[in-house]
């Protein structure tokens, strides 16, 4: 076990979000506390004729929890989620299971999903509850007697204490429409505030998702302002003046609208804020330092790697791999501290002591040091090697950091400038030369922030990282052809002429987890994937088709004129006479299909004919390969494989 931890420690990559200053585990636990009262269960019909259907606040909350659960399995596979219903007739807590009678620790609290990394079974159960399915409907019975919020909060406390000990981030999401649960009872009210203080001292952040009633606006001053603290004490990274913006996030409206607004509000808080470094100095000039925190707001989300599963028991179990280091000759176990490193050089090994090795990577303390400014236009579009780091000021080490950062931010935005920075993100991490650019805050139509205000450090490539340009034909297109092309894509602007990442979920990632979910729950194959990245072919044809044809005619004519005398030579395939003359018009059926490569329109025809006649095997391997490659299919293997894949291609198309 200890060895395993060593191994994991070694795998810690520079990118990993670790808070070196803390003993806490960099994990997040979210517990939903959903109010199940009769008003929360009351379905609200939708007023929007475009989106009919009704939805009760409780079911909207459950749907959100289900959505978040699915999402976090993909994006935060180590983080925990739980669902606690309160105000229910029945109660359930660990080994207690009762109907609300005597001796229950937490009456009217129903721990529906225990706080843990969700299991497939729990996903299924929550979906059933959110879908209001028959067998679980009975759980959503409101209690007849009033409930105690102090009790609910302490119940949550106990769940966090035992299930998510030592987590860096623990959050309680309360969804309710009752802004004054203890209006008439001062004792209960003050007990609640004490229990809320316990949660605060435990490091649990309460996030309120208030729902206004049709005839009554949710008023946080009545009760919840006594319950909620600015930030949890353990959340040292949150800027001191960051307030929970409850005013804007009160879910209102009816039916589906309610669900949508709740969903967007919960989504915007779905990820716990984690920094990759905190309070490192930004040196604006010699003698002027401020402190900043760094965040990875952009990082490629990959599916979790496959693991080993042990099938010897009743249910499949994940087997943990433990790496032991052994000597090559005697297979002795080796302690990490005994290991030395050496480099191959001139047929021998050149060795260094661990101290030397680590000093080779040491270029000083972490810093972001500005070494000058340049216009944004100096940053070439190709100067990129990895995702950027987002930085935001912190008042922790230098009072006044935020205002200085803000002044710099505004100046860079206004004048379109960048700062060139020498950037060491943590001790012994490789220094980079970075372009620090200002990012403006962007919000959607509801005022919800989509891109935060702050600076982005783009690591620049070093001279070593820039590759030379490949040899390529150089033929500058004449102006008429360019104009024809402009016509084409003038019709195909993305909405507002912007790339919006939110419109494009990663299709392979989503598909991977949908299949896993189906397998885990023993469900049917989900059929066709929903892939938003596939171009809208019909739209392209309708909007730009005519222009493409015009462009293509010009291209053909120009190509004849420019290269006409010397037919294209390709070593790959024999080509038909029509094509090698570049004269498409002379064939019997003039093909309008726009292709700029020579030959392959013939190949398509030949292959199709051969396919119909069943004579694919008579074609050459080269022809088959070219056909497959030009249709984006793998072209490796024996002839029989190639033929099989060509047949598959036509099968897919029919």
């Amino acid at each position: 076990m200890a060895d395993d931890s060593y191994a994991r420690e070694e795998e810690l990559n520079e990118e990993e979000e670790v808070d070196e200053s803390s003993f806490r585990a960099v994990k997040d636990a979210v517990l939903f506390a959903i109010d199940v009262s009769s008003s929360m269960l009351n379905p609200r019909p939708s007023n929007n004729p475009k989106k009919p259907g009704e939805e009760s606040p409780t079911s909207a909350a459950l749907k959100c929890a289900y959505h978040l659960m699915q999402q976090r399995i993909i994006s935060n596979p180590k983080d925990m989620l739980g669902v606690l219903l309160y105000g229910t007739q029945n109660s359930k807590f660990y080994d207690e299971d009762g109907d609300g009678s005597a001796d229950l620790s937490y009456p009217h609290c129903y721990l529906f999903t225990d706080l843990d990394v969700p299991s497939a079974e729990e996903v299924k159960e929550l979906r059933a509850l959110a879908g209001n399915e028959e067998e679980v409907r009975g759980i959503l019975q409101p209690s007849e007697e009033p409930i105690s919020m102090a009790n609910v909060l302490f119940c949550a406390n106990q769940i966090f204490t035992s299930k998510a000990p030592n987590f860096l981030s623990r959050r309680l999401f309360i969804v309710t429409d009752n802004d004054n649960p203890h209006a008439g009872n001062k004792a209960l009210r003050s007990a609640s505030t004490v229990r809320a203080r316990d949660l605060y001292d435990l490091g649990v952040t309460i996030e309120l998702f208030p729902i206004s009633q049709p005839d009554h606006e949710f008023d946080t001053t009545k009760f919840y302002d006594d319950i909620i603290y600015k930030t949890a004490p353990s959340d040292g990274e949150a800027p001191a003046y960051l307030q929970p913006d409850m005013k804007t996030s009160t879910a209102q409206g009816d039916g589906i609208e309610l669900l949508d607004s709740l969903l967007s509000s919960i989504n915007s808080r779905s990820v716990a804020k984690r920094s990759i470094f905190s309070n490192i100095p930004m040196e604006i000039g010699p003698g002027l330092k401020i402190s900043v925190n760094g965040y990875l707001l952009l990082r490629r989300q990959e599916p979790a790697r496959s693991c080993f599963v042990w099938l010897g028991g009743e249910t499949p179990q994940i087997a943990k791999g433990i790496t032991t280091l052994l000597t090559d000759d005697t297979a002795h176990t080796v302690e990490k501290s005994e290991i030395r490193k050496a480099y191959k050089f001139g047929g021998e090994s050149i060795s260094f002591t661990p101290e030397e090795l680590s000093s080779l990577r040491d270029f000083g303390e972490p810093v972001i040091r500005i070494i000058g400014f340049k216009p944004m236009s100096a940053l070439p579009i190709w100067a990129n090697v990895m995702h950027p780091t987002f930085i935001y000021p912190s008042e922790e080490d230098y009072i006044g950091s935020t205002r200085v950062f803000s002044a710099l931010h505004q100046k860079l935005l206004k004048d379109n400038k960048l700062a060139l920075v020498w950037f060491i993100s943590r001790k012994k991490s490789s220094p980079v030369l970075g372009a620090m650019i200002a990012g403006a805050e962007k919000t959607d139509e509801n005022g919800v922030q989509k891109l935060p205000p702050g600076m982005w450090i783009i690591p620049l490539p070093f001279a070593d990282d820039v590759r030379k340009q490949p040899p390529a034909d150089f033929t500058v297109a004449p102006e008429p052809l360019i104009d024809a092309m402009k016509q084409v894509f003038g019709q195909l602007q993305l909405p507002k002429g912007v790339y919006d990442p939110e419109r494009y979920p990663n299709p392979s990632l989503q598909w991977h987890y949908r299949i896993l979910q189906a397998l885990a729950l023993d469900e049917d194959h989900p059929g066709e994937p929903d892939d938003k990245t596939i171009p809208k072919y019909r739209q392209i044809h309708k909007r730009a088709g005519e222009y493409v044809l015009e462009w293509s005619e010009k291209l053909d004519a120009l190509s004849d004129k420019m290269f006409g005398g010397s037919p294209e030579r390709s070593t790959l395939v024999k080509r038909g006479p029509r094509d090698s003359n570049g004269d498409e018009g002379s064939s019997e059926q003039p093909s309008k299909r726009v292709k700029t490569e020579s030959g392959s329109s013939d190949i398509d025809g030949d292959i199709k004919k051969a396919m119909e006649k069943g004579t694919l095997s008579k074609l050459t391997v080269a022809t088959l390969k070219e056909f497959l490659t030009s249709h984006g299919r793998a072209a490796a293997g024996k002839k029989a494989d190639l033929i099989e894949r060509v047949e598959q291609y036509f099968e897919d198309k029919s």
């Binding site: 406390n157 000039g285 090559d328 002044a407 297109a477």
Partner: protein, 717 residues
């Protein structure tokens, strides 16, 4: 593939080369060898069998070469014939290159010998041929046959470099006063020789050695990462679809430092302590070291087993994935069941405005997209797209699948053109899942608790701060110069070298030649951009001073960070005094184990004397020890770490480090002495990992524990 290489170094080792001149601290020979060693070790580090090196020593005491039968080849020794240079050759060369006791030996003869060596070695094969001659030019040089030699060098297409200490070099700005007459004569002869060769270079040694510092970048072969079609529309469905055959290869790709292999000394003792750092023989070959390999075993949770885990056989395991905490097993026949069916292609989705694209959305390295070679029509078509994008100030967004069954990525396509080259540059874009929605407050306005928006606040710049910042930024505009002193457009990418990569490489090279010496500081080239240039700093001095004054930034003294004594109590949004309510709860004097952390903190916050703090710590310690004692395996460990960590933080804040240090010393003894329910070593490992050892003086002023002692405390004994 890189060309084969044959390089012969001719090093003058005359007695006079062993002298120190013009106030230098090293001999001329040592100086010359700085250049030679760098070049040779650079060649060795490529590990290429076809990069061959030969070395001739000129003006040696004895004579050893193929042409020695002729008198003119006396006092010339071939130290190494042309071959791949390895460590033994380096050691041999080191011993051989020593100042001799003679002044005799002809440089031109050495050149003839070098040409002869190259000829014998390379015959008529394709080689990059190179001769480097370093001499101080003080000996007798016979100018006979020089013209023939020039012709031969020209004919064989040999590159010739001639360097010498204190050679006059107008370009570099070196002129030796009172130059010896013979040396002047020789310099003239050698200069003419080099200049008359098509690939000849003549320079002063200082120039050559200075260039050693400039890191060499390695050229990487161009390999296409995708070959297929750039298309618009679906050619399978619509006659109006457009397809251009294209290729993709990297424009940028991070060059990684060489990777080290692991070894241990065979005896099992500390390897580094025996002979100090040294260039060892091949690991595992009789030098007392052995390579390290890894072995993997597998475990599953089993509550009935001691320790809660049992080993399982690798053969009983199948491939699978985690869905939440559920293991999903995938049978071999279904191996690709979770991957999306895709086909290779680069398909345009739509177009966006250049000025609405946020540059920071680039997710990774950038690639070239060029028309496939040999399809002129294709390159014409692509050119029209490139120019149209450029003129319309648009980018294209496309879906790229580099190979059948690979996941699709969305990419930005940007136009790029120079005088003789055009392409699209492709940069990967983020998907929804790649963008994390952390929210941050605005930087130009502040929302108060009551929801009011204010534009004047201590976190916002005042007018004078903003003005000072504007002026400072303007005064720090970069003016980057290249090696010739010309201003560079854009950013200094081509002069910035990967510091870690080159530092490690030069350390390896240095140690290979100087096994007993400590490693060197990084070369100035690598840290050139670590600080603003002095000129620029001087120029903007006044602006910076104004900015500092207007900013009024105050450093928080490290020891008052988060100090809690006498602080104001934490309050909820409403400002309600919850502490007052807590005081009304008498039972909270005793910490309950199930709500320990909050109650411990609250007890401390109400403590008005040390006794109360003492008592709280005592109670908390008992609770923690109980948790350890009753922990089934590691069940309670995280709770223990949290409790311990909380105590440590609080006691630092309350400036009572001694209390913590006492308890943690005691706890360590109990854990390692197995007094808390058996073997709890893993818990101690967790405590180490969480750095929950002694509070040292750097953390708390009041501590009496030194940093070294605190570090030692955590090391397993």
């Amino acid at each position: 593939m890189a060309d084969k290489e044959a390089t012969v170094y001719i090093v003058d080792v005359a007695r006079s080369m062993g002298e120190k001149r013009h106030g230098r601290s090293i001999t001329d020979l040592e100086w010359a060898m700085q250049y030679v060693w760098d070049k040779i070790t650079t060649t060795v580090s490529t590990g290429r069998k076809t990069a061959n090196v030969g070395v001739i020593a000129l003006r040696t005491d004895d004579t050893s070469n193929e042409l020695q039968d002729e008198d003119s080849f006396a006092n010339i020794s071939v130290i190494s014939h042309l071959k791949q240079f390895l460590m033994p050759d380096i050691r041999k060369l080191q011993n051989a290159i020593q100042p001799s006791h003679t002044y005799k030996g002809d440089a031109i003869s050495a050149l003839v010998l070098a040409i002869h060596m190259i000829n014998t070695h390379c015959r008529k094969l394709k080689y990059k041929r190179k001769i480097v001659l370093i001499t101080n030019g003080t000996g007798l040089i016979d100018p006979e046959n020089v013209e023939d030699i020039k012709d031969k060098i020209k004919e064989d297409n040999i590159e010739l470099f001639i360097f010498g200490p204190d050679f006059d070099d107008v370009e570099w700005g070196v002129k030796e006063e009172d130059k010896d007459e013979r040396k002047a004569l020789n310099e003239k002869l050698l200069r003419e020789l080099a200049n008359d060769c098509p690939n000849g270079t003549f320079a002063t040694l200082e120039n050559a050695v200075a260039n050693v510092d400039i890191p060499e970048t390695k050229e990487v072969r161009i390999v296409p990462t995708f070959k297929g079609h750039l298309s618009l529309g679906d050619p399978g469905q619509y006659e109006t679809a457009l397809r251009i055959p294209v290729e993709r290869c990297y424009k940028t790709s991070v060059a990684k430092p060489p990777s080290a292999s692991s070894f241990v000394s065979q005896s099992g003792t500390e390897a580094g302590q025996e002979g100090g750092p040294s260039a060892t023989q091949e690991a595992g070959q009789g030098d007392g070291t052995t390579n390290v390999r890894t072995s993997r075993t597998y475990q599953i949770d089993d509550e009935s087993a001691p320790g809660g885990k049992v080993d399982v056989e690798r053969d009983d395991l199948a491939k699978g994935y985690e869905y939440g905490r559920t293991a999903v097993h995938i049978s071999q026949t279904d191996e690709n069941i979770t991957s999306l069916t895709t086909y290779a292609g680069l398909e345009i989705i739509g177009f966006i405005d250049q000025d609405k694209y946020e540059r920071y959305l680039h997710m990774s390295q950038v690639s070239f997209i060029t028309a496939s070679k040999g399809y002129k029509k294709g390159s014409l078509a692509l050119s029209s797209l490139i120019h149209a994008l450029y003129e319309a100030e648009d980018y294209a967004v496309a879906r790229l699948v580099i190979k059948e069954a690979k996941p699709p990525i969305l990419v930005l396509l940007a136009p790029y053109m120079t005088n003789d080259f055009e392409c699209l540059l492709e940069a990967p874009l983020p998907y929804t899942e790649d963008l994390r929605t952390y929210r941050f407050p605005s930087l130009d306005k502040v929302a108060t608790v009551s929801g009011k928006i204010v534009t004047e606040h201590r976190n916002l710049p005042t007018k004078s701060l903003q003005e000072s910042m504007d002026q400072f930024v303007d005064s720090m505009e970069l003016d980057i110069k290249d090696d010739d002193g010309d201003t560079v457009e854009g950013l200094p990418i081509e002069f910035s070298y990967s510091p870690v990569l080159h530092r490690i490489q030069s350390a390896i090279k240095w140690r290979a030649v100087h096994p007993e010496d400590p490693i060197q500081e990084p070369s100035a080239q690598l840290t050139r951009f670590s600080h603003p240039e002095e000129d620029l700093v001087a120029k903007s001095k006044q602006e910076l001073e104004n900015l500092i004054a207007a900013a009024d930034v105050k450093k928080v003294p490290p020891k008052t960070k988060g100090r809690k004594r006498n602080r104001e109590a934490e309050k909820p949004l409403s400002g309600l005094d919850v502490d007052a309510l807590l005081n009304l709860e008498p039972k909270r004097a005793k910490i309950s184990p199930e709500n320990a952390i909050p109650e411990f903190k609250q007890l401390l916050s109400r403590a008005d004397n040390v006794d109360t703090i003492n008592d709280a710590v005592k109670q908390m310690t008992d609770i923690i020890e109980n948790q350890i004692k009753h922990s089934l395996g590691d069940a309670n460990y995280e709770r223990v770490v949290e409790g311990l960590g909380t105590m440590r933080e609080e006691l630092v804040d309350y400036e009572e480090p001694a209390l913590y240090n006492e308890l943690v010393r005691d706890l360590k003894e109990k854990i390692l002495g197995e007094k808390l329910g058996g073997d709890r070593k893993e818990l101690w490992w967790l405590i180490r990992k969480g750095k929950l050892g002694l509070i040292d003086q750097e953390t708390s002023e009041r501590s009496e524990v030194l940093a070294d002692e605190a570090a030692e405390f955590l090391v397993p004994s």
